[in-house]
């Protein structure tokens, strides 16, 4: 299945805008993503292993928070989107 990488995080994923993974749940898909691109991990997860609150993960067009979160089952034709908060251009922020 495809995991879409948003622009602010592409620099930590070898500049890719999408990564293919093979998984049966959202958690597995994200785990494979961070294994393939370890730099992504600290931007997606806290030290304690929780998905960061300013990063949203969508399975197709539904927020996984309202599905089964990490345990949400995924199919090969699904798309996972990572949607971080963005606020434009003020420097230092």
């Amino acid at each position: 299945m495809k995991v879409l990488i948003p622009t602010p995080l592409r620099q930590y994923a070898d500049k890719k805008d999408a990564v293919e993974v093979s998984a049966t749940t959202v958690g597995e898909a994200l785990s494979q993503l961070t294994q393939a691109h370890p730099d992504l991990k600290k931007h997606l997860y806290t030290e304690g292993g929780q998905l960061r609150a300013f990063v949203n993960v969508y399975l197709n067009d539904e927020d996984i928070r309202y599905l089964e979160k990490d345990k949400t089952p995924v199919a090969p034709t699904d798309t996972l989107s990572i949607v971080p908060s963005i606020a434009g251009g003020r420097r230092n922020l």
């Binding site: 948003p6 622009t7 602010p8 539904e62 908060s85 963005i86 606020a87 434009g88 251009g89 922020l93």
Partner: protein
């Protein structure tokens, strides 16, 4: 601070001039006379007259929104002109508020432009929002995003949200009665420094144009009560791929702002976003060398290795013959550097190179210094013929 005391409940009529001006609206069933009168009676507050604020204010004015408030304390900068189309070259150095108000009135003298020459804050937001029907957020930082959201929820005013990053944008309508608010989507802001800012990445000039007009469109739809507004919908724009995607947003019943409503007043948003004024930037804690010192030592024939940590496209703009290793590639390419040599690292303004120096010192390099002020300082003090960017 200007204010309107009496809201115009319903504009009585349009003048003959206005009928002619808005004829293309009036002949559409979706707008018609009824819609145009609603537009004339509407009061929209635009936070920011910059990238997003420029096209959105212009289109709201052109459409005949009766009252447009603008909040901006900034001054027009030369580098703004690449995208902030409400300002012209002759406006550089002027207050954005004055420049924006003038452009708006030139397009449509019928608009009541209300200027707020102030920084939006917890102290003034609620009072400011009171005189308007909705707020369009065109700001460029996280603390203000949360401030606008919370103030909109507390005031019961819709928040037409738009944000951009390089060539991607997001648009939605928050803080309506039944819909989600910004905090439902993003309960917490990113810690400073974790989400890259536009500053080092730039922004495609057209992007705030695309997103700003989408915001204006949503504002107009809300006023007219027509079409399907982006309530509970997040539109993601990728301008390079020209792809538009839509995600479902839900109102979070536990949301402290619009769900549980535990937020009853505005807070210190800088603190909320983890920004502390006294935080020392990295660049003041690494060893440095001034551009004058570098020039002097190079002229004297000293063996200095100049490391340029910018991106290849920046090197093409101007360079001081440094060895180019972009900052993000440094960990992978550190073996190309000789730690026995004296290294001077530079970037555009001295911030990225400070991180490079920090990294190299942690990797065991002892003879590495940061060029204070970067290549901008070199262009300023050593080589005036070099372009600044």
């Amino acid at each position: 601070m200007a204010s309107i005391t009496e809201p115009i409940a319903q504009a009585v009529s349009l003048s003959n001039d206005e009928v002619l001006r808005y004829s293309r609206h009036l002949i559409m069933p979706e707008v018609g006379m009824e819609g145009q009168l609603k537009l004339k009676a509407a009061r929209v507050l635009c936070i920011g007259a910059g990238g997003l604020g420029s096209p959105l204010a212009l289109y709201l004015g052109a459409a005949g929104v009766g009252t447009i408030g603008i909040v901006d304390f900034d001054v027009v900068d030369y580098t703004n002109l690449q995208r902030q189309i409400i300002h012209s070259t002759t406006d550089v150095g002027r207050k954005k508020l004055d420049s924006a108000a003038e452009s708006l009135k030139a397009i449509n003298p019928n608009v009541n432009v209300v200027r707020y020459d102030t920084r939006l804050s917890s102290a003034n937001a609620l009072e400011l929002f009171r005189d308007f029907d909705m707020v369009v957020d065109g700001t460029d930082n996280f603390p203000t995003r949360y401030l606008v959201n919370d103030a909109c929820v507390l005031s019961g005013k819709p928040n037409v949200y738009g944000s951009i990053f390089r060539f991607e944008g997001q648009v939605s309508v928050f803080a309506t009665e039944a819909g989600p608010c910004y905090r439902c989507l993003y309960p917490e802001p990113p810690p400073p420094g974790l989400v890259p800012s536009c500053a080092e990445g730039g922004v495609l000039g057209i992007l705030p144009g695309l997103v700003g007009v989408m915001q204006a469109t949503e504002a107009i739809k809300l006023i007219l009560g027509k079409g399907d507004p982006l309530i509970g919908r997040l539109v993601l724009v990728d301008a390079l791929a020209m792809k538009f995607r839509e995600l479902k947003l839900r109102k979070n019943p536990d949301c402290p702002a619009c769900g549980k409503r535990t937020i009853k007043e505005l807070i210190d948003y800088n603190e909320f976003c983890g920004i502390r004024g006294e935080e020392k930037p990295v660049e003041t804690t690494v060893p440095t060398i001034s551009v004058e010192e570098l020039k002097r030592r190079q002229d004297a024939g000293d063996d200095l290795f100049v490391l340029d940590v910018r991106e290849p496209h920046e090197y093409q703009i101007c360079n001081i013959n440094g060895y180019l290793i972009p900052l993000n590639d440094l960990p992978k390419r550190v073996n190309e550097l000789d730690s026995s040599r004296e290294i001077v690292a530079h970037c555009r303004s001295g911030m990225r190179s400070a991180k490079a120096v920090e990294f190299l010192r942690q990797a065991g390099f002892t003879k590495v210094k940061n060029l204070t002020g970067g290549i901008l300082a070199w262009a300023e003090k050593i080589d005036p013929k070099m372009p600044k960017y």
